[in-house]
């Protein structure tokens, strides 16, 4: 399976993500410019972290109009894998591919640290390499990761088991229900604030992100995604 990492103006975790995919799975990963519409070659698409369009107005608000988002939408409909990390999660929310929105962290500060995160679902194509309920350590780095959805939406997310990652220690940003990552109903689109691509080597303080890339690689093969 081939991986795409979309590069928006202002993305800054794009290369980290490409490297993590290559190093962990050995698969091919391409950096794909945001103006490219056709993403049909890719079985899995990453929307990386960063500050696309400076995060001006709202994080993800401008990036969601990028031409590559057509390809992302199509991939989501096809059942291919789409994952947004940090800014990528914000873009998926703005694009309506996942429900909810992001507010400023409740303490209003940017927060960068390694935090405990509980894997609530280990039966998704992104998390099959983890144990259900496993608490892993992942870096976060964001100023607007305070997840919001109205009561009805939130209740539905929980009922359907769409909350995949949840902060297991102190809630670092005020997210409702301590949400750190969610999937769509079909289970093939994931958005998460923590950065698995920064947790792939002992020297980086955690290796707990590796299983996510491995899970995706496996799912891609099983599902015979391009």
């Amino acid at each position: 399976m081939r991986f795409a990492v979309i590069q928006f103006p202002g993305s800054n975790c794009d290369m980290d993500t490409v490297r993590a995919i290559r190093e962990v799975t050995g698969a091919e990963a391409d950096l794909v410019w945001h103006a490219r519409k056709d993403l049909s070659d890719y079985g899995a698409i990453f929307l990386p972290g960063g500050f696309s369009y400076g995060d001006y107005l709202r994080p993800g608000a401008i990036a969601r109009f990028a031409e590559a988002m057509d390809g992302v939408r199509r991939a989501a409909e096809d059942g291919r894998l789409v994952i947004g990390i940090c800014n990528g999660f914000q873009i998926l929310l703005e694009a309506g591919l996942l429900p909810g929105a992001m507010r400023h962290n409740d303490h209003l500060q940017f927060r960068c640290e390694i935090v405990p995160v509980r894997v609530e679902r280990a039966d998704t194509p992104f998390t099959s390499g983890y144990e259900p309920g496993q608490v892993i350590r992942l870096p976060i780095a964001h100023g607007e990761g305070n997840y919001y959805a109205d009561d009805g939406t939130l209740e539905a997310l929980e009922r359907r088991g769409q909350v995949v990652f949840r902060y297991a220690g102190e809630n670092p940003n005020g997210s409702r229900n301590a949400v750190a990552g969610i999937v769509n109903e079909a289970g093939n689109v994931l958005g998460m604030m923590p950065h698995p691509e920064r947790a792939v080597h002992r020297w980086l303080g955690s290796e707990d992100g590796r299983a996510l890339f491995v899970s995706m690689w496996r799912a891609g093969r099983e599902r015979q995604l391009v």
Binding site: P9, G10, N12, C13, M15, D16, R19, A20, G49, G50, F51, Y53, G54, D55, Y56, L108, Q109, F110, R111, C112, E113, P139, A141, G143, H195, E197, R198, V200, H201, W203, L204, G205
Partner: protein, 757 residues
């Protein structure tokens, strides 16, 4: 055409004063030009001859710095220094101040400071991989200081995080003399292959000159505003420059892509004095001339005069000289990134900086006159009277506290020594996924991915020592920074610096400056770390009070094997060793107390001399410790600096979540317990060793001629300090709480929230 004074008027009415030139300087300009300068030409002289651009007060003194070594690929004189780290890799780095803008508007001042230093590094062809920030404020006991600190930190975070360069290190200190003059110094470190080294030169007659990036507005134009024929916004003008990290990120990517094409002849950021200074400097380095038509410069505002265009300090712009015929290469790359690239002139061979306005020549000044012929001052220097007063302190009269527990807690909770996590967790210190040693250790380590190598970086600036003894303080600044590199297992390579001082026209301030540079130079020579870049910030004064003399040193080293990186975190069951002197001779006790954090926090005294520092001993200690780490004999290491041995041990205990018992009974004869545990001296590193490695380390130290002593063992959950009798005994948890909570507590008072809401 513009409402500008004539050359005659300038002379008759002494208008040169309005742009900060003395009469003598004006006469010199007339002589060099062979005629009276017009208003624009006067503007060019005034900015190029300003302290900021010409280093007219410091140039003579800075010559003292050692700048050479086999590792140096580029020394001072370019936008950043560059050193070799082996295997074809090199590091580019530099530090710069943004003190004055930060005092006016802390968020934007700090943000644009970060932006400027990033450009200095990528302009060399290096990809920035780390930022550091060195900050000084007044004590956090008033709303203004807390506001400044919150905003400065937010500004650094807001810019660095968005550009996507991890801020991995720095320091924050507080002292009375920074109350009206906060210091904000930022350092950037970049990585590159040797062959990608780019330089700021304007070579090749006829080569096109481009301005790329943001448009030019009326930002930061100095003093007099006669020049504005029509400035519709005059009343609404703000001196504040706003940073745009998004633009910077695009500019960074576009410039690196452009440099990689090989079609770039020279490139330089537009910083202070904008087009004037960058144009003149690039021409000067190449010995060429430059022609710029201001009408071709893309503007953000209407009605700008050539004067305003030439002097604008709008952010996020670069000046690029391309190979002739390759303009379109730049055009394409910049268009892809959504940026503008405009050809605004060309390289000439007549040595002139010629400014045109729609084809018409409006200024013509020899580059040499602007750059090489800038005035150089021999400022008088005189030892400040306060030094004699400091030295007259009689340490014997300082009472001994009953127990050291309280003193140790007071030190751990002092804003200077307390945990700075509140600051650095606002910085994205992990982006680029290469940060192997994160903030909080002696130095940060950036892993050079795909290799086993790493780059270690840190900053240091012992302001109090420099105030007490500028020469010795300057030595400490370098020794301490370099020692910090050694503690993480890096071989020191070179340093950059930012010299923050008061008004150099005061002989006392100039004395501090001269002596500090001398001290730094000596340390650099002995420790083998040349100065490859730097910056001077003078006039940090207000209401007649100058800041403490504050040279900040940024040090860079290389880790050869990432498996051998060390941090201060120790584990249980280890032996605690100390490289360097364990105690002073009884007659030297005063030297260990003078200028110490302990004397200040517990006795509220700033007195004495800076602590002793023997550079040869320092070198031996560093060599021995580094060798021990490289052989894999050291489990944890931490240098002993402010707060002395007790604070160093406490920090290691907190970092490792493990207690220890240390006993200095063997060396304590005739020495006061406070001197022993809280006294300060250079050349000391605490290490934790597995028991089976102790003998090897001892032998190694002996061979290197470095003192080494076993002083205790780790384990349990208390830190116990004895010299025979117990002198302090505290739970590690208590130490941790005091150390961790001091800064958040100091800043939590319900005061002004940031206006950046």
């Amino acid at each position: 055409m513009y409402n500008e004074p004539t050359a005659e008027q300038i002379e008759r009415e002494a208008l040169y004063r309005q742009v900060g030139m003395t009469e003598e300087e004006y006469r010199r300009a007339v002589e060099l030009l062979g005629r009276r300068p017009n208003w624009l030409e006067l503007g060019l002289f005034s900015v190029m001859w300003s302290e900021h651009c010409s280093y007219k007060s410091s140039r003579r003194v800075l010559k003292r710095f050692p700048t050479e070594g086999p590792q140096v690929l580029q020394g001072p004189g370019e936008n950043a220094g560059v050193v070799d780290i082996g295997d074809g890799w090199a590091v580019a780095f530099k530090m710069e101040s943004h003190n004055h803008p930060s005092a006016i508007e802390p968020y934007q001042g700090a943000a644009t400071g970060v932006g400027g230093i990033i450009r200095d590094v990528f302009t060399m062809g290096a990809r920035p991989v780390a930022l550091l920030d060195s900050l000084r404020f007044g004590p956090p006991d008033d709303d203004r200081q807390r506001y400044l600190m919150r905003e400065v930190v937010a500004g650094i975070a807001g810019y660095g995080n968005a550009v996507g360069i991890p801020t991995v290190g720095g320091e924050v200190k507080f002292a009375e003399r920074y109350r009206n003059n906060p210091l904000v110094n930022a350092m950037c470190v970049g990585l590159m292959r040797h062959e990608d080294l780019a330089r700021g030169t304007a070579r090749g007659v006829g080569n096109p000159v481009l301005v790329v990036g943001a448009r030019t507005g009326r930002d930061g134009i100095h003093g007099a505003t006669f020049a504005s024929a029509e400035d519709p916004l005059e009343k609404e003008r703000s001196a504040v420059q706003v940073g745009d990290p998004f633009m910077e990120k695009l500019l960074l990517e576009a410039c690196l892509e452009l440099i990689a094409t090989g079609a770039v002849v020279g490139i330089q950021d537009l910083g202070a004095a904008g087009l004037t200074s960058s144009g003149a400097e690039m021409a000067s380095r190449a010995g060429s001339g430059l022609e710029i038509d201001t009408a071709l410069v893309p503007r953000r505002e209407t009605g700008m005069t050539p004067y305003e265009v030439m002097l604008s300090e709008s952010q996020e712009r670069m000046l690029v000289v391309m190979e002739r015929g390759k303009e379109s290469v730049a055009g394409e790359i910049f268009r892809k990134w959504g940026l503008e690239a405009a050809v605004i002139g060309r390289v000439t061979d007549d040595g002139m900086l010629r400014v045109l306005d729609g084809g018409k020549v409006v200024a013509e000044v020899p580059v040499k006159a602007l750059v090489d012929e800038a005035p150089v001052y021999e400022r008088p220097a005189r030892e400040p009277e306060e030094l004699a007063v400091f030295r007259s302190w009689r340490w014997e009269e300082t009472p001994l506290p009953e127990r050291l527990d309280e003193a140790l807690l007071a030190l751990l909770g002092s804003p200077d020594l307390a945990d700075k996590e509140w600051v650095w967790r606002q910085y994205d210190h992990m982006v680029l996924a290469s940060t192997a040693v994160r903030p909080g250790a002696d130095a940060a380590v950036i892993w050079l991915r795909g290799t086993r190598k790493g780059v270690a970086v840190c900053t240091d600036g012992p302001g109090r020592y420099v105030r007490l003894n500028p020469l010795l303080g300057g030595m400490h600044a370098v020794a301490e920074a370099v020692r910090n590199l050694v503690c993480v297992g890096a071989r020191p390579l070179a340093i950059t610096d930012c010299l923050n001082f008061g008004n150099p026209e005061k002989p006392e301030v100039f004395y501090q400056f001269e002596q500090a540079v001398e001290g730094m130079s000596r340390a650099c020579e002995v420790l083998g770390t040349p100065v490859v870049s730097g910056n001077v910030s003078f006039y940090n004064e207000s209401k007649g009070v100058d800041v403490d003399p504050t040279p900040i040193v940024g040090a860079v080293g290389v880790v050869e094997d990432m498996e051998r990186v060390c941090t201060p975190a120790w584990g249980p069951g280890m032996i605690v060793g100390l490289f360097g002197p364990a105690a002073p001779a009884p007659e030297d006790q005063g030297r260990w107390l003078g200028g110490s954090e302990y004397l200040l926090r517990v006795h509220h005294l700033l007195a004495g001399d800076a602590p002793p520092l023997d550079l040869e001993l320092e070198r031996k200690v560093q060599e021995a410790c580094l060798e021990a780490i490289r052989r894999g004999l050291v489990a944890a290491a931490h240098d002993v600096s402010e707060g002395g041995l007790a604070v160093a041990l406490a920090e290691m205990a907190i970092a490792g979540g493990t207690g220890a018992e240390a006993d200095l009974g063997a060396v304590a004869a005739g020495v006061r317990p406070d001197v022993l545990w809280l006294g300060e001296a250079g050349s000391r590193i605490v290490v934790a060793l597995r028991p089976e490695h102790v003998e090897a380390v001892r032998r190694l130290a002996e061979e290197a001629g470095a003192p080494f002593a076993v002083i205790g063992r780790t384990g349990g959950d208390r830190l116990v300090l004895r010299a025979g009798a117990v002198q302090a005994d505290l739970p590690v948890e208590r130490l941790r709480t005091v150390w961790k909570e001091a800064i958040p507590w100091a800043l939590s008072e319900n005061s002004r929230v940031s206006s950046s809401i």
